[in-house]
């Protein structure tokens, strides 16, 4: 009842297919025009041609999912229900499962007396079946089978033709799958990486992401955002695996990390919470991570590392050294893993570099050599963009087996004179505050003086923001100088302060006057200029 193909008549013995017909059939299956079709169209077209050439009633293609070891019905003719109902057959079981497990053609003459798993085949009244594996370089991609509604002995020649169609389909599926997966993974990954690295006032950020050259992307990922308490989070990770599964884990990691960090948890706690989450997701969620919380006001960096290469710190003088931190386990390995953050000074003008192992690892030398090469190359001055460009040019081969990602951050040195322009939006106020605090601190202002002056300046900035009422892009400028103990801050905008309504009119101006020694507000046709002055080391006026 069940016969493997060797028992069938050899190709050529068959009287069923005439020579001319055979040639034509071969041409129809190997038709170059098929190559221009999408994977879906190609499978449909191949099934159509197969059923015509071999006069079969049904045909179906099932593809193997490597992870679950299940064959999924992907295309069908005459038994479309297979695809519609999402039939899944375990490898080794039933008709299709046996073909995949044994990697050879299987013929079933009488379905009623055979081990058939898929009830649809019987329900459709199929009596005889012939199936062949879809093979690429000895790997089983799936199964192609045809069926007959009347009892039929398929010939060896027919089996050979079917195998030819299967080979053709296998190559097309392989190409299309790889291409589609890479496209998908790339699109997904692009959406997981931050697009705006200019969000942090008083900081410069730069990043590079270079996907692996061939086949699927690796699992490299990075992020930078404002966490709880206005501190800046930078993080980089390497998810085990590649392609779409890795990107899916990445998406979860990114969400979890942002959620916990924005809640204001301490860095070690953030990693422990994310780890617990990732461990629950499953063994495929393993990932390494370096996570740093940057406090631009206190110029410090809290670092916590989970099985990731050590971040590199480059001093303001351009001397690089790795940040020595006891690395915890990669995330997603053990629920019991503990993560402890260490605090490092992050001086203005210094740079910190997070990177993935693709930057320091190659297949021909130990990782220590790669780390040392990175350290040596990172020496010297320059900004974050220059650093990233140099590392890519010198360390990243154009043909690479792994992704390479890096993220560099630098706290801008506090200038003698603070000067800048910002869009007239409420969202920038917090960043301006941080910058002012740092500047006032380096001028030797006390905590109370800093608070007072910052509030007064914010009142002026907030007014500039509130009065940017003309259509179009608006901005305001802030300029702060320090001379002989006197802080002088000028806030300039192009708006005209509207007369304020309501009972709270003028409270901002009242605050400014209460907090500063002198407040000068000048309205002109070009805009409004506020000059605030205060002597440090004296009581407020």
């Amino acid at each position: 009842m069940i016969a493997d193909m060797p028992n069938l008549p050899a190709p050529g013995d068959s009287p069923d297919v005439a020579d001319g017909d055979r040639l034509q059939a071969l041409e129809r299956i190997t038709d170059a025009a098929l190559a221009s079709l999408s994977a879906e169209q190609l499978l449909r077209e191949l099934l159509l041609r197969i059923t015509e050439i071999l006069s079969s009633d049904t045909a179906a293609i099932l593809l193997l999912d490597e992870e679950s070891k299940l064959l999924h019905a992907r295309a069908a003719k005459g038994i479309e229900e297979e695809v519609e109902q999402g039939v899944k057959i375990p490898v080794g079981r039933g008709f299709a499962g046996r073909i995949a497990a044994q990697r050879r053609a299987v013929f079933i003459e009488d379905v009623d007396h055979a081990d058939i798993l898929n009830p649809i085949l019987r329900e459709k009244g199929i009596r005889s079946l012939l199936g062949v594996p879809l093979l690429v370089e000895d790997r089983v991609l799936g199964v192609l089978h045809i069926g007959s509604l009347v009892p039929r002995r398929f010939t060896g020649e027919e089996a050979a033709l079917l195998q030819l169609a299967a080979d053709r389909a296998a190559i097309a599926i392989e190409h299309a799958t790889l291409y589609e997966q890479r496209q998908l993974a790339e699109q997904l990954q692009r959406r997981l990486l931050p697009t705006d690295l200019g969000f942090a006032t008083g900081m410069q950020l730069a990043s590079r992401y270079l996907p692996a050259s061939h086949e699927s992307l690796g699992g490299d990922w990075y992020d930078a955002f404002v966490g709880g308490n206005g501190k800046v989070v930078i993080a980089i990770g390497d998810v085990v695996g590649h392609g779409i599964p890795a990107a899916a884990v990445m998406a979860q990691l990114r969400t979890a990390l942002r959620a916990y960090a924005v809640e204001g948890h301490a860095p070690g706690e953030v990693l422990e919470l994310v780890n617990r989450l990732m461990t629950g997701i499953g063994p495929r969620a393993m990932t390494t991570l370096a996570f740093a919380l940057i406090d631009t006001e206190r110029t410090s960096l809290e670092l916590v590392v989970a099985g990731h290469p050590p971040p590199l710190m480059i001093s303001p003088a351009g001397e690089p050294s790795f940040l020595e931190v006891a690395a915890g386990m990669p995330l997603g390995v053990s629920e019991l893993a503990r993560y402890e953050a260490q605090t490092f000074a992050f001086e203005p003008g210094a740079m910190v570099l997070l990177y993935t192992d693709g930057l320091v690892e190659n297949r021909t030398e130990p990782i220590d050599a790669g780390l040392e090469r990175l350290r040596a190359l990172a020496a010297g001055g320059g900004g974050v963009e220059a650093l990233c460009s140099k590392l890519v040019a010198r360390l990243v081969p154009s043909e690479r087996h792994d992704d390479v990602a890096m993220l560099a951050a630098r706290i801008e040195p506090v200038p003698e004179r603070l000067s800048g322009s910002w869009p007239a939006e409420r969202g920038v106020l917090a960043g301006v505050r941080q910058l002012l605090r740092r500047w006032l601190e380096t001028r030797g202002a006390t905590a109370d003086e800093i608070y007072d002056i910052v509030v007064a300046c914010q009142e002026a900035c907030a007014n500039a923001v509130e009065h940017a009422y003309r259509p179009g892009q608006h901005s305001f400028e802030l300029d702060a100088t320090y001379d002989g103990g006197r802080v002088r801050v000028t806030v300039r905008d192009q708006g005209r302060w509207r007369p304020q309504r309501g009972t709270h009119r003028g409270r901002g101006v009242m605050m400014m006057r209460g907090l500063m020694d002198s407040v000068d507000i000048e309205h002109t046709d070009e805009g409004t200029t506020v000059v605030l002055e205060r002597m440090l080391g004296a009581e407020a006026a």
Partner: protein, 116 residues
């Protein structure tokens, strides 16, 4: 709002308590104000706004507190502030003339005691 400040809420019978942790400025004040208003029900007799952990406050936040106080008075509910002594926030409230206009206490316990 969550980036700059968060509100920790507590309900003690007919008194609502809201502790504002973080920074209050023009960017989040409206959202914070709405949040505080949602804490009040018709049964509420008072709202205590605790500014102990408020690390930044300027006229944007102070205006909101004034408005809130006005609304509560209209509804015969009371607003009380908790502001520890000798803090920058107290200095700001003083300069803005809010001290005296709205009852302030140094601790939540003191505010609750005054309301009971």
């Amino acid at each position: 709002m969550s980036l700059l400040a968060r509100v920790v809420e507590e309900q003690r019978e007919d008194i609502s308590i809201a502790a504002i942790e973080g920074e209050v400025d023009a960017s989040n004040v409206q959202e914070l104000g709405e949040r505080l208003r949602t804490l009040l029900t018709n049964r509420s007799t008072a709202l205590i706004v605790d500014l102990t952990e408020t690390t930044y406050l300027d006229s944007a936040g102070i205006n909101m507190l004034f408005e809130l106080a006005g609304e509560l008075t209209d509804r015969q509910q009371r607003l009380q502030l908790v502001v520890p002594a000798a803090t920058p926030v107290l200095r700001m409230l003083t300069i803005a003339g809010l001290i005296g206009a709205i009852t302030t206490h140094e601790t939540q316990d003191a505010a609750l005691a005054a309301l009971s």
